[in-house]
Amino acid sequence: MNYDFSEKEFTFFTDLHNLMETLSKEADLENDNGGDNVMLALNKLAGTPYLKLALGEDGELNGLLTLMGAMEVVGAFSPSMLLAIEMSTRVFGRIVSSFGDDALKERLLPPILEGRLLGSVAVSEASMNVVNEPLKTEGKTDGDKVVLNGRKQYVVNAPLADWIAVIGVMDEKPAVFMVEKGTSGLFIEDKMPMLGYDGVAVSGIRLDNCAIDSSNVMGPFDKPTIIDSVKMWENQVLIGAGLGLMKAAFESARDYAKAHKSGGKPIIAYQEVGFKLAEMLTLFQTSQLFSYRAAWAADDNPKDADSFTLSAKVFITESAEKVAGCALQIMGGFGYREGNSAERAFRCSKYLQIAGTSTEISRVKIGDAAMGIR
């Protein structure tokens, strides 16, 4: 593995930083604002290689590996924008890119890469569990249509999305149903209030005799690859989100500790604070490297990529909570105020451990992999 980013990548990260800095002054990115803010961000990012990473031709950048560094930059400015954009571009987009036929790709990929389309992916159902994932959402053929019935929960971007990729079953095999906004029989529930990610619109959806054109169905697939792939892509996004939270929380706390004085000296001079920051930076840097290795493994060693990604996800998302918690402690009352990046990171960090493959299920799967159980 190469432990360096290239000059081109560093330049890209700097450009991205500047773009996000400008954007965050133009709009409150932690407020979805009815979808306007995410579309504004998508539109701006489309002018950079960002949306193409791991999805399209990204020039001399390095796909998923570059994406990890890029997600850190975007996520540090706005956790909500990162999550909304990534669930659309990288998860929804990669479903289209990896499993769609040429016609579907031609129809949906250009607007995704040009930042004109917001996608959503609906996976989670109440019946899913650790041992297996029995999806109840089902599509049945009816002439040249497929009729969908089922309910999905915690669907990121659902209230705002132009298209929703619904993972379900057809003929008892996994399939993806592409449902366009406004389709009859698609019911979007109200946006859920959550602990964190204030600017992300998350809701349940209901499919009640929702008929879609059969050309909008991917599958059915003989193997459950689609679900594994979606989970892994989602976990990769959550890894990048964790890096962003840590960067924001650590840098805020470090800067505060250097500037804020107590007893006549900056509080970083006290070992209680300086050592805490050292532990935070250790977790942050370790997380960065872990994410790069996971990205590299996903590209280079697909056989081991799943448990590698899960290992990184557990470590990084748990580290994000620890780093955010320490940052809050260091900044005292200043950090506890609403809108402070540490306070926001602390609230958001819990989501990362719950979403995708949860920390607990991840550990079960990593343990299974260690014992040779796949």
Partner: protein
């Protein structure tokens, strides 16, 4: 392939004797000699000096392989002190004559090396060093005391740091080569330790110890910088066995969890056991990334990034005990007994946050450099 060869070699030639030597707290001379024969002790030195011209990544991989094979922390520590703290310092800063005289014997394992830096009142605070080296004609007269010196009781050759200018702080420190049996130079008895028991650790005493002036390494006053250069190895090759040990523990624990049955099923079926396996894996992967980053940068010829080096040491130091503890608990009563080597690994891992600069020192470095 290279890594597998070392693992196979170590499993066959070294590991069968590990537990016995650990129990007796004895150094395994035979294993050390075999490490030399296999080429591990001098891996990164030039071929003409008995080495293999290996790069740093390869050298780190060898250390990881030893840990992965189940070689104990005592022997890997002895290897680290010998090769990186002693031999490499001579190779990196010595004259051609010094290199030719010492490196082949150290690379082959014919001689054992150690490094004497730490003193009773000067650990991480190296500038407080009390040992002195006074030049008299074509001799240096060394006086002072060193402590916690790995390989001290068994070393044939030592790299000793002492102040040639006691008025100076770091700039007054110089490095010398001192051979065993030099009059006025002796080691104390082996210090009995909690872990890494097969490595022999002692005090070193210099009482008007007279050495030829040609045994000075580099120039007077360069000693501190030489000791700092060993940090690159300390944060890569010396940490690598901990990474390898995590893989060893993971495999052993996975095998045990599949075979050991309780309540009518293998304990590996229980989620709590899977979680322990997961945490061992997570530590190993994270630590591997940090250790190899230091090695990669050294291979690229970059000066050591002290912040990144301290991060690697702090992480491996503070986090390596948890997986060892997990591995021991997963084995239950067997894990607590010496017959199974999990308790030995846990004791060995306890050195990680102490040796080579404690975790607190790493935090001091990181907080100053951030």
């Amino acid at each position: 392939m290279f890594k597998k060869e070392i693992i196979n070699f170590a499993k066959k030639e070294i590991v069968p004797r590990v537990q016995e030597h650990d129990l007796k707290k004895q150094f395994d001379y035979e294993s050390f000699r075999k490490l030399g024969e296999f080429g591990i002790l001098g891996l990164h030195f030039p071929e003409e000096l008995g080495g293999s011209d290996a790069d740093v990544i390869t050298t780190v991989m060898a250390g990881e392989a030893l840990g992965e094979a189940g070689v104990d922390g005592g022997l890997t520590l002895a290897y680290g002190a010998h090769t990186f703290l002693c031999a490499d310092t001579i190779y990196s800063h010595g004259t051609e004559e010094q290199r030719k005289k010492y490196i082949p014997k150290l690379a082959s394992g014919e001689w054992i090396g150690c490094m004497g830096l730490t003193e009773p009142d000067a650990g991480s605070d190296v500038a407080s060093m009390k040992s002195t080296a006074e030049k008299k004609g074509d001799k240096y007269i060394l006086n002072g005391q060193k402590i916690f010196i790995t390989n001290g009781p068994i070393a044939d050759v030592s790299v000793i740091y002492a102040k040639t200018d006691p008025e100076q702080q770091h700039a007054g420190i110089s490095a010398f080569i001192v051979e065993k049996d030099t009059p006025g130079f002796k080691s104390g008895p082996n210090l009995i330790k909690m872990g890494v028991s097969t490595s022999q650790t002692s005090e070193l005493f210099m009482d008007n110890c007279e050495i030829p002036a040609e045994n000075l390494l580099g120039k007077e006053g360069e000693g501190f910088n030489m000791s700092m250069q060993t940090v690159e190895w300390d944060r890569s090759a010396l940490l690598a066995p901990f990474v390898g040990a995590s893989t060893y523990m993971l495999k052993r624990c996975a095998d045990y969890a599949k075979k050991r049955e309780q309540f009518g099923r293998p304990i590996g079926k229980f989620q709590a056991m899977k979680h322990r396996l997961a945490d061992i894996r997570i530590f190993g992967e994270a630590a591997r990334a940090l250790v190899y980053r230091i090695a990669y940068c050294k291979d690229q010829g970059r000066p050591l990034n002290h912040l990144e080096a301290a991060v690697a040491k702090l992480f491996v130091g503070d986090w390596s005990m948890a997986p060892a503890n997990d591995a021991m608990i997963l084995h239950g009563g067997y894990g607590y007994c010496h017959e199974y080597d999990m308790e030995r690994i846990m004791r060995d891992s306890r050195l990680a946050p102490i040796g080579g600069g404690t975790s607190d020192i790493q935090k001091m470095i990181i907080s100053k450099l951030m």
